[in-house]
């Protein structure tokens, strides 16, 4: 496999396509096919039948009659069918039409004067000199043809030209009269060679009359193997079925023609033959019904084998099935490091790493082989690696079994390759589809584990966009030293903490990590000796630091103190917590909420650690550590921070339920009043509108003004209801902790549960469709009030009225449809983008070039900055450097304002690719877009 041509590289300069001449078809044919039968009664192929043994072998044991090879040696040979009458090749109808229109119907010359033809010829020659591309040539030839088609009279013989039309798919008409393929062929034969060159044909390899078939090439049997079913019945390939049809009709046509049957019958048969040959090439030709199998399933013919997602190109050439890979369900394991992956024993025993036997490892490898493929683990362990195959120096593979292990191990010599099962520390690639960005495939270190799922740290969910509701992921074992080294340097998880998409961390705490960090550090949270010891034991710290607080004779450690233990000793940072209230606030206000994080020399002196500190996408501390202390330090920090947080949440305990949204009767009444007033306000607006007293907004009609005002009023009402509810939900409330710290949910979600769900909308407008002039029969026709147009006054907690429920479903449906449409559209967009960009790369000189070495961009991104090493897209963070060098505290207020600007628009929603798992069937063609 690897011998012979290894090291010799050749570059394909060009690929030229040409037409097969009937002569060539007959020359390359191993046998003529005349009978539609395949096998005789004894099950042997019939001579000159479709399964003729000259066409290759598909059954083991038999030999090919053409080359004498056995199943794997013989590549198969073509045969041919002589067609009784010529038929048109569907794949070429466009060219045929062009040629018929551009040439004279009598003399076959190009319909251009000598002078004109010469001009085009000169232009083409000039292009050849300057090295024009294929596309450039096509432009010229197209123009030549267009110019020639315009002419009504032949400049050479003076013949009046008729109008040629194409009746799809394969019928040519001249002034409405049918042209038989035979006539078409005769015309094409008359076109002289020199005229063809200007039209973009090379007549040496592609005479146009060859596009009308007189002989049909029959593919080797290896291309269309028949399958023997268990019952002993033979089942033929679709192509064979189609060829049988062609042969049958061909036979009948020949008999009828030779017997001098009426013209009508011959023509009908001729057309039938055309149909069969057409569907043999492409069974989805528009304008004709697809040929079907007896069961009603359309046949898969030549074009269908190549085209589309399941076609040869996309599924066998661009993409391939691979060995040394595994796929199973994923589940979380918070004790694993972020760059590890738990691999089930069953998978580890199948997946192997090739080990080259050298003098330094000869003995140990022999020992491995001796263990066989399923070695029993010593006491205290559950897995030790075995060996599945030994590959000798001559390339022979020997399967190691429990029986032959000992014997095989004795034969192992230097130069052998031994396929060893996975062990802890092996580097593998881990991937989840859809692989939308480079973080969808990262290198992890193996940890062989019991049970049947792949396991990994929860902090790595965001880059893969994974959850554990049944997601499956793929794992690939690298097979060469080079690949492993590359993966280790470029693909390991820690190398991807900073995303090239926005220059911030994509890996970091989620959900409970953030809640835990909040509980650990909010205000003056403190922990007893036992609690502190428990939390710190999670990160392997056994010696307690001196206690931070002493109270009532007891020693306490503050959460901020505990968290500071994992920070680098020289880290200084200031930022706003996620719990900080929105809008501008004075530093004092922020301090009161404990929302201003100040870290100096690795000590958290104030502020709450939450999503803005350690969260994926937003974690400022994460960002800083990854940037300044390197990927390995960042990996360690994420491991420890998440473990601390989990320790804290376990010590404190954390739960949420619908009673978290309980609010006092008093508040409920207030909310009801607000909503009632809002509804009344809308009613008043409607009245004003009806009386014509509504003041029109600039650029809007009266109706639009009403809608906008109503939406505004109702939106405000919902917010007010939320605020009233919010007043009674304090920071001790679990749901509020999650929402404010950024762990899960939002304050809007809470206000919809406790206060009011609010106005439902479709396409950004109040609901209006359904019945004639009303949404539901529960309302009067033309009612424009709040309740009639989709305002949901109730809360999730109180429950919805039937009409409200229906409105809510309408609004919800839009969301679902939107996501479905977005995924298919963005998937197709991504595909086109990647196809256009896949072979571009940044060269050593900083230019971006394609494979032809032409420049696409003179400097990558115009500034040459790697976005994953940038600070929120900027090459350097000047303030940061100033602070580091001058040791100066920049004005906090200023700093915070800048951070707000930098993170403008960066919400988790923007960042997490909102692509769901559903594989969306996307065809090559442009999907039809609305409007």
């Amino acid at each position: 496999m690897m011998s012979g041509l290894r090291g010799v590289t050749k570059r394909i300069k060009a690929i030229k396509f040409a037409l097969l001449s009937p002569d060539e078809i007959r020359r390359m044919s191993a046998t003529k096919i005349i009978t539609a039968d395949t096998y005789d009664d004894d099950g042997f192929p019939i001579d000159m039948g479709l399964m003729d043994s000259h066409l290759g072998v598909i059954e083991p044991g038999l030999r090919c009659k053409t080359c004498g090879g056995k199943v794997d040696d013989c590549p198969g040979h073509f045969g041919h069918i002589d067609l009784a009458m010529p038929v048109i090749h569907v794949g070429h109808v466009k060219e045929l039409k062009k040629l018929l229109q551009a040439t004279c119907r009598r003399c076959g010359r190009l319909l251009l004067t000598k002078q004109q033809a010469e001009e085009f010829r000169v232009e083409m020659e000039a292009m050849e000199e300057t090295g024009g591309g294929d596309a450039d040539f096509q432009v010229v030839t197209k123009e030549t043809a267009r110019e020639a088609t315009k002419r009504q009279r032949c400049p050479h013989c003076g013949e009046e030209q008729q109008k040629i039309t194409l009746d799809k798919p394969t019928t040519f008409r001249e002034n409405g009269h049918k042209l038989t393929p035979k006539e078409v062929r005769e015309r094409l034969e008359r076109i002289p060679n020199e005229d063809l060159r200007v039209l973009g044909f090379n007549p040496d390899v592609a005479r146009p009359e060859w596009m009308i078939l007189t002989a049909l090439l029959v593919p080797p049997v290896t291309v269309r193997p028949s399958i023997t079913l268990e019952s002993g019945d033979r089942s033929e390939d679709d192509l064979t079925h189609k060829l049988v049809d062609v042969l049958r009709i061909n036979q009948r046509l020949r008999e009828n023609r030779d017997a001098g049957a009426p013209q009508l019958i011959v023509e009908d048969l001729w057309e039938l033959l055309q149909y069969h040959v057409t569907t043999y090439f492409d069974n989805q030709t528009s304008g004709i019904p697809p040929a079907r199998h007896r069961s009603g399933r359309p046949l898969k013919t030549l074009v269908q084998r190549l085209k589309g997602k399941e076609g040869r190109f996309r599924s066998n050439l661009s993409g391939k099935r691979v060995n040394f890979s595994a796929r199973t369900v994923i589940s979380p394991d918070p004790v694993l490091s972020i760059n590890e992956v738990g691999v089930p024993v069953e998978a580890a025993r199948e997946l192997t790493v090739p080990i080259h036997v050298q003098s330094y490892n000869h003995d140990i490898v022999k020992e491995w082989v001796k263990r066989g493929p399923t070695p029993a683990a010593p006491v205290g362990e559950f897995y030790i690696p075995g060996v599945n195959y030994v590959i000798r120096s001559d390339g022979r593979r020997i399967r190691v079994t429990d029986k032959n292990a000992e014997a095989v191990s004795e034969t192992v010599e230097i130069g052998y390759v031994v396929e060893r099962q996975l062990v802890d520390g092996d580097i593998v690639l881990f991937n989840r589809q859809p692989s939308l960005h480079r973080m969808s495939m990262m290198a992890h270190e193996v940890r062989v584990m019991p049970h049947k799922t792949f396991r990994f740290n929860l902090a790595v969910c965001p880059p893969y966009n994974a959850d554990f509701d049944g997601d499956e992921m793929n794992l690939h074992v690298l097979q060469s030293e080079e690949a492993r080294a590359e993966a280790r340097v470029l693909m390991r998880v820690q190398e991807h903490i900073l995303s090239p998409r926005f220059g911030g961390p994509v890996i970091g705490g989620i959900h409970d990590h953030i809640t835990g960090a909040f509980l650990l550090t909010y205000k003056d949270a403190k922990f007893s000796k036992e609690e502190t010891a428990y939390i710190l034991s999670k990160i392997g710290i056994r010696d307690l630091p001196p206690p931070g607080v002493k109270k009532g004779g007891l020693e306490y450690w503050t959460g901020k103190q505990v968290f500071s233990m994992i920070l680098p000793k020289d880290l200084s940072l200031t930022f706003k917590s996620s719990i900080a209230p929105k809008g501008e606030h004075s530093l004092r206000e922020l301090r009161e909420e404990d929302a201003l994080v100040v870290i100096k020399n690795g000590e958290v002196s104030s502020g709450t650690i939450d999503e803005n500190a350690v969260g994926a996408f937003k974690g400022k501390i994460l960002d800083k550590i990854a940037r300044d202390y390197g990927p390995d330090a960042a990996r360690e920090f994420i491991d420890k921070a998440t473990k601390l947080a989990i320790g804290a949440i376990m010590v404190r305990g954390f739960t949420t339920g619908i009673d978290d949204e309980d609010i006092p009767e008093e508040a409920k009444k207030q909310i009801a009043d607000v909503l009632k007033k809002a509804v009344a306000d809308v009613e008043a607006l409607v009245e004003a509108y009806k009386r014509g007293e509504l003041e029109q907004m600039p650029g809007r009609s009266l109706e639009e003004t009403l809608e906008v005002d109503a939406m505004k009023t109702l939106g405000r009402a919902r917010d007010t209801a939320g605020q009233i509810a919010g007043k009674h939900l304090g920071m001790e409330n679990s749901a509020v902790i999650m929402a404010r710290s950024g762990a899960r949910g939002s304050m809007l979600n809470l206000s919809q549960m406790a206060g009011s769900i609010g106005q439902q909308a479709v396409r950004g407008e109040r609901l209006s469709r359904g019945y004639w002039n009303r949404t539901l029969p529960h309302f009067r026709k033309g009612d424009l009030g709040a309740e009639a147009k989709g305002f949901v006054r109730s809360s999730y907690k109180s429950g919805l009225h039937p009409t409200e429920y229906f409105f809510h479903a309408m609004g919800g449906r839009e969301g679902l449809v939107d996501t479905a449409v977005r995924t298919s559209r963005s998937g197709y967009m991504q595909r086109r983008l990647i196809n256009a960009l896949e072979d571009l790369k940044v060269k050593e000189d900083g230019t971006v070039r394609n494979t032809a070495d032409t420049i696409i961009q003179f400097r990558f991104g115009e500034d040459g900055v790697d976005p994953s090493r940038s600070v929120q897209g900027k090459p350097v963070d000047v303030d940061d450097i100033l602070q580091e060098i001058l040791g100066e505290e920049p004005s906090w207020q200023e700093r915070l304002k800048e951070q707000d600007m930098a993170s403008y628009g960066l919400t988790e929603k923007d960042m997490a690719p909102e692509i769901s798992d559903e594989e969306v069937e996307v065809e090559e063609e442009e999907p039809t877009t609305e409007e």
Binding site: T130, G131, D136, V139, D845, T847, R849, A852, D853, T854, I855, I856, Q857, F858, R859, G861, E862, D863, G864, V865, G873
Partner: protein, 83 residues
């Protein structure tokens, strides 16, 4: 000419390079001229430049100076081609 496209605010500065200057650019990038991005002779910008410099034949190089969101100012070059 009805309209000078170079005066539009979305069209960056285009400048025709003298031959010696063009040679220096190519030498600096260590490329041959066919490796440059192309601009058609029929491009409106070329028409404008032809008003200034007279006819511009194929093979000349245009320098484009853009205001860049990432780099401030960025420079690019294009080879004039036919059609």
């Amino acid at each position: 000419m009805k309209f000078n496209v170079l005066q539009h605010r979305l069209v960056p500065e285009h400048r025709l390079l003298e031959d010696d200057e063009a040679q220096r650019v190519l030498a600096g990038l260590r490329i041959t001229s066919d490796q440059l991005p192309k601009i058609k002779k029929t491009d409106p910008v070329i028409h404008v430049l032809e008003q200034i410099h007279g006819p511009i034949e194929e093979g000349r190089i245009i320098k484009i100076t853009r205001i860049s969101e990432t780099a401030g100012i960025s420079e690019a070059y294009r080879l004039v081609v036919g059609r």
